[in-house]
């Protein structure tokens, strides 16, 4: 049996990659993908603990996260398309009209 620590370390690594990508990348779609990556890292920990404690609630929770993520992706992509139509760019550094 694989020890729980392995899953957790993998999840932490994935999460950190997500954060790093979120901070570093300028393309709004890449940023969006990094958010999905962080969500999935969290999902992995849920599943790992559910397996360890033999409890089904953690797995159900993951389904909820996936549903919400799907809905969020739909809304998020719609926003991105609207943004592109207005600004003709996907670079977040050029989308800063709300400052001050």
């Amino acid at each position: 049996m694989v020890p729980i620590a392995y899953y957790l370390v993998l999840a932490a690594v994935l999460f950190c990659i997500g954060i790093a990508a979120f901070l570093i990348k300028r393309n709004v779609i890449t940023i969006f993908m990094s958010i999905e990556l962080m969500l999935n890292a969290v999902n992995l920990t849920f599943v790992a603990f559910a397996h360890m404690w033999h409890q089904v609630s953690g797995q159900i929770f993951v389904f909820f996260v996936m549903v919400v993520a799907a809905a969020e992706a739909a809304v998020g992509l719609a926003i991105i398309i609207a943004l592109f139509r207005v600004r003709q760019t996907l670079n977040v550094d050029q989308v800063d009209l709300l400052k001050n």
Partner: protein
């Protein structure tokens, strides 16, 4: 009689003020006047009924009515409470009676003026506060009336507020009165500190039972005197009254001659118990009164503005009343107050009628020969002049004589000096009043007749009138544009609505003194007996002792008045040049009097200028500009600086926000992981 009716006496004029003050602008003039007159006549009727009640047999000595508590804190309570005793009754009679007559007169006098509704609203407001003042049964409520009449006086002096001199005179009156009010307030604080109440009866009872001795008591009395000098225009605060003549003439008659300025005398008389226990304060009152009487009379000798002469004579007569109070003859003071209200109200109204006749002319150098042109004004004014000069049997003779007699026999060590000053003032009064009389009504007309006769003014007449107007405005010290309907009609007698009050007041000036004919002259001095319950503790002893002395003194003062008349006759009727020659001969004295002893200038140099400098530099520059504004500006600047610092965080850049978010999360995690080592479990 139902004591609750007392509430109505002041409230009715107040209702008139509210009505005219709010909707009066839209009402026709006749309705405005009707409201004002009705709501002044109604209190007069109530007072008449009250008078009958108080005179009837078995009536109580005082009628009181008390409301729910007004101010109630632990150990101190003030109610809205009115008390009517015989002193108040006389004041009520003067205020409502003379006040009503002056209201009638104003209907005619103000007929062509702008702001008709405003004038009557203010006048009714004044009536309200003045009635509160005399009805009050505590120092605090008296003070409410005291301040209120000051406000009404300010508003009415500055009635022609577009004119600088009128606005300034209003301010001057208000500010000078503020000094007196300050003294009054301090006196009230001391009274609260020592007696725990401001109710007249309680305080006077405890003073009578066990008088406080020492400095505090004298201080209270002197502070009250300071208040009285402000309101009643005595040295050192008399300077506002002559300037107050900027107001319309009925205002001068009502507020600055008959009623408001007597509030100080009323207050001193009301507090007679207090003053009786403080001989030092009484001596101060007597000296102030005598000095003011003499000083104002000497200034009055050389004034040219008809209203100014009357103003200084008012100051002088108020000095007499102060003198009477100062020698303990309160009822003589109140007697003179009453007769003075009649004849000085009459003199002002008659002067207003003269001014009206001459379409706004106030300078006596431009009058003369008016006797035949305005006969009713002439005869009524003559009654006033005779009364103020103390010619028997006019009212002023009895009251003035009573004061001089009481001064002469008073136990005060200065009594002979005070008496002599009073007598000298009587002579001067006679001189300057007959000077006014001769200059106004006798001799050749000195006014410009073209002024009036141009019924259909063509271009030439207009030019002439303009030239004349500019000439007079430079000539007259305070040319007020009062009846501004000028230049349209000839010298004319006033309408009946103005002459009727004149006639009534003239009759009162003649017979008003007969209620106080002293026993020495075959009377009963009913006035003094009427007031005896109020001034019971102050009853002077020597009543029947010296009829001969009293008659002698009366003869002396009558002779003095006759001498004044004779000199005025000589100077201004027989040989009109004499006065000018004398003035040229004694240039410095004339100049001193003409400049009113330079008192305004001295005050300006030594009091007002330093005060202004301190206010500008220290209070305005340093404290207001430096500390208060500096604090505000400093707070604002620090907030702006802080905003400038943290504003750079809000860049609008999503990645920077995400970075802060991540950093924050990292800090939270670090605290959760490692922070608990530092926390006690």
């Amino acid at each position: 009689m139902n004591p609750q009716l007392l509430w109505l006496i002041p409230i009715l004029p107040f209702a008139g003020f509210l009505l005219n003050g709010t909707i009066g602008r839209k009402l026709p003039r006749a309705l405005v006047a009707t409201i004002a007159l009705l709501l002044t006549a109604a209190p007069a009727l109530i007072v008449a009924q009250l008078w009958l009640f108080m005179k009837s047999a078995g009536a109580p000595l005082a009628l009181s009515v008390v409301s729910r508590p007004w101010i109630a804190v632990s150990g101190f309570q003030v109610n809205f409470a009115f008390t009517v005793d015989h002193l108040t009754l006389i004041m009520l009679g003067i205020i409502t009676g003379v006040g009503f007559l002056i209201h009638i007169y104003s209907v005619g006098y103000m007929a062509h003026e702008e702001g008709y509704w405003r004038f009557f609203a203010y006048l009714n407001l004044f009536m309200f506060f003045m009635l509160v003042l005399v009805l009050a049964s505590s120092f605090l409520l008296l003070f409410v009336g005291w301040e209120g009449v000051g406000l009404a006086s300010y508003l009415l002096i500055g009635f022609y507020f577009t004119k600088d001199s009128a606005a300034n005179a209003g301010k001057k009156a208000f500010i000078v009165n503020r000094i007196g009010d300050f003294g009054f307030l301090l006196a009230m604080f001391l009274l609260v500190a020592h007696y725990g109440t401001l109710d007249f009866n309680t305080i006077f009872a405890s003073i009578a039972a066990s008088p406080l001795t020492g400095g505090i008591f004298t201080a209270i009395a002197l502070l009250l005197v300071l208040g009285a000098t402000g309101k009643s225009a005595q040295i050192p605060l008399y300077i506002w009254l002559p300037d107050a003549m900027e107001g319309p003439t009925p205002v001068s008659a009502l507020i600055h001659a008959a009623t408001m300025v007597t509030a100080g005398i009323y207050m001193v008389a009301r507090c007679h118990v207090l003053f009786d226990h403080s001989p030092a304060a009484l001596t101060v009152v007597a000296c102030i009164g005598a000095a003011t009487a003499l000083m104002a009379a000497t200034i009055g000798l050389v004034q040219h503005d008809i209203k100014r002469v009357l103003a200084y004579s008012t100051v002088s007569q108020l000095g007499y009343m102060f003198l009477a109070c100062g020698v303990g003859a309160y009822s003589a003071g109140i007697f003179h107050l009453m007769t003075h209200a009649f004849f000085k109200g009459l003199l002002f109204l008659a002067a207003g009628s003269v001014i009206h006749a001459l379409s706004g002319e106030q300078d006596m150098r431009n009058m003369g020969g008016l006797r035949k042109r305005i006969p009713i004004t002439f005869w009524t004014m003559s009654a006033g002049v005779f009364a103020i000069c103390g010619i028997i049997p006019f009212a002023g003779f009895y009251s003035k004589d009573e004061i001089l007699y009481q001064t002469f026999i008073s136990p005060n060590p200065l009594h002979l000096l005070l008496w002599f000053v009073g007598l000298l003032t009587a002579g001067l009064t006679s001189f300057y009043m007959f000077r006014l009389w001769f200059k106004t009504f006798f001799g050749a007309p000195r006014f410009d007749e073209h002024h009036g006769t141009s019924q259909a003014p063509d271009l030439h007449a207009n030019q002439l009138a303009a030239v004349h107007a500019s000439k007079t405005s430079t000539l007259v010290l305070e040319a007020e544009p009062e009846p501004s309907h000028a230049l349209a009609h000839a010298v004319h007698e006033s309408p009946w609505i103005m002459t009727l009050p004149l006639i009534i007041l003239a009759i009162l000036s003649l017979i008003g003194g007969w209620v106080g004919i002293p026993a020495a002259l075959g009377g009963h001095n009913e006035f003094e007996h009427f007031l005896a319950p109020v001034f019971a503790s102050a009853a002077p002893a020597a009543e029947a002792s010296s009829h001969g002395l009293e008659i002698t003194l009366a003869a002396i003062s009558l002779l003095t008045a006759a001498l004044g008349f004779f000199i005025a006759y000589l100077f201004y009727y027989r040989k009109p040049g004499t006065a000018a020659a004398l003035a040229a001969k004694y240039r410095p004295i004339y100049s001193l009097l003409d400049h009113k002893y330079w008192v305004d200038e001295i005050y300006g140099r030594f009091l007002i200028t330093p005060l202004l400098v301190i206010s500008r530099l220290l209070l305005n520059g340093l404290i207001d500009g430096g500390i208060i504004q500096g604090t505000g500006a400093g707070l604002g600047a620090s907030a702006r600086g802080g905003g400038w610092l943290v504003r750079s965080i809000q860049s609008g850049n999503i990645r920077s926000y995400a970075g802060w978010l991540a950093a924050g999360a990292a800090v939270v995690i670090a605290i959760v992981l490692f922070g608990h080592h530092g926390l006690p479990h």
